[in-house]
Symmetry: C2
Subunit: 330 residues, 2 copies
């Protein structure tokens, strides 16, 4: 490949009119659970945006339901779990599950997407890292302080580790099933891991994430993503992943040096830059490409998902620009 | 002083029964606006907790109202600004003000608190940094993405800089008035600055924060605090502050090395640790004190404010422990 590859987290989503049209008729969970709809949404950005990968349209929380944690999406508030984990007894009640049965619709969507893509671009599957999934399971939704999560973590470390073991096992089975179904790479989202101190990360999160990566194995490339990780990068690397995702809070070259040249990096444009004028989007992209120095092993992406208010033209222009600018530089 | 000094952000607050009792009868803004009530709340932790400083009970957003941005606190949702800044014209309409008139009740509270304290412990005043205040002015409240803030910043940089200049001027006048009224130190809260990339910080926030610190002058010690700043510490130092506040996301010794030995540091226990068992609170405190190495210039604090669900006994024990453990080590 002579240009820097590019894809975007949440490249299928509310910023696209065709996605909003579908969401007017179907809930988020309906789309996730209907292989044809999930396939359609996964392919929407591929038709309009010059991205080098598709990412399966799905939701991080899907594995929680077959574990015993029912949830729904509340308009404007994100996910809401009916009865969040509040005690060691709640952890004990959680089941592991067979993803080929409980989440067979996701695996069917993978087969459908791959048939439609027929090799044009690779398909990325994904799952949540134990810490981030545990935080949803305990908080019941988004949190700004992770107070309940950490209270359980510090107060009932055995229950915490048991919860994370169950999550790591479930997500590993789920990702292996996704690989068997045909995804070309997988991304592990530890989106909220930046809430942890480095010492807490090493004690409470890293062993489980590492076990997850070990269980996934080396059949496809793996991406390990988090936000707010400026002081955790060495630890994320150690936990696993062929590619480490980096948000915008640290310059890419500084991050890559800390991660090590033997790993690839993915990132790291602030998604809000796409809300502003295009000249700033291009100049910040230039800066990121310069910091990557044209080295192979840089995958261009945002530091987090595309925001709903993003103009679709900016996403289109950005993907093209990454290709043309990086090609010129080589 | 033979022990490490300690105080806590939000040491006056909902975790204390006597504060909750007062809040049952008065709103947050009523307390802020009545010098006697603000004095009472400021003194509540001084009576029960072995802290080495009082911090004026007030709210970061108070200067916004005399600038033309009315707001209130909505139960469970935090501050809500009636008509947030949405355009360059909205920025133009903002006024600067004379804090000795518009916020005279804060200055009266300072005089009352100092009379009550009569030198027992110093009193810290505070104000918001331009970026953090601008983000409230634009978002209208808390935000997880700062999408509106950054859209205005990137899309209307002149309006952004004008907004931050007005904020820096207003907050500087306000902090100088607090110093005149008798506070012994001031803390500048740039709580949400960690949302910015280092390059954006230097372009959009740092010049205004620096001007703020220059305008405050050197009459009392200044503390410069933010969260999520692991990749911004050198820049925060450059912007100003005799003491740099550090959250728990980076080890204190790593942070201090980056900040430089010629500055003091404040931090950096994760406030959620106080929700867990006390043995963990003590061991994490030991770790922070060890990383500070008994050097003068470390002020023990949390990495952010005390959480409402914190047991008051933990706060009491923690303050005592910081004193006894650091004294033993010297």
């Amino acid at each position: 490949m002579d240009a820097t590859p590019v894809w975007f987290m949440r490249q299928a989503g509310r910023y696209m009119a065709e996605y909003r049209a579908l969401r007017a008729r179907h809930s988020l969970l309906e789309i996730c659970r209907a292989p044809e709809l999930a396939t359609e949404v996964t392919l929407q950005p591929i038709r309009r945006i010059e991205v080098d990968a598709a990412i399966l349209f799905s939701d991080l929380l899907l594995p929680l339901e077959p574990m015993g944690l029912a949830f729904d999406f509340v308009k404007g508030e994100g996910p809401q779990i009916d009865r969040p984990v509040a005690s060691p007894a709640d952890v004990e009640r959680l089941r592991t599950f067979e993803p080929r049965e409980a989440l067979s619709h996701v695996l069917e969507a993978i087969v459908l997407v791959q048939r439609e893509l027929s090799g044009r671009v690779p398909l990325i599957g994904f799952g949540g890292a134990p810490f981030t999934l545990a935080s949803y399971a305990i908080e019941g939704g988004h949190s700004s302080t992770f107070a309940r999560t950490k209270a359980l973590m510090y107060g009932h470390p055995d229950a915490w580790h048991s919860l994370c073991e169950k999550l790591a096992t479930s997500v590993a089975d789920y990702l292996v099933a996704q690989i068997d179904a045909g995804v070309d790479a997988v991304q592990v989202f530890d989106s909220w891991v930046g809430a942890l101190s480095p010492a807490d990360y090493r004690e409470f999160a890293m062993p489980h994430t590492r076990r997850l990566f070990e269980a996934i194995g080396r059949r496809v490339p793996t991406i390990h993503f988090g936000t707010g990780t400026a002081a955790l990068l060495e630890d994320l690397r150690e936990a696993g992943g062929d590619v480490i995702g980096v948000d915008w809070r640290i310059p890419l070259d500084v991050a890559w040096q800390r991660i090590g040249a033997d790993r690839a990096v993915q990132g790291n444009l602030d998604p809000t830059v796409l809300l502003g004028p295009s000249h700033r989007m291009f100049s910040q992209t230039d800066d990121i490409l310069a910091r990557a120095g044209g080295r192979p092993g840089h995958i261009f992406n945002l530091g987090h998902g595309i925001l709903p208010s993003t103009p679709v033209e900016h996403v289109q222009m950005l993907a093209q620009y990454v290709h043309s600018a990086s090609r010129r530089a080589r």
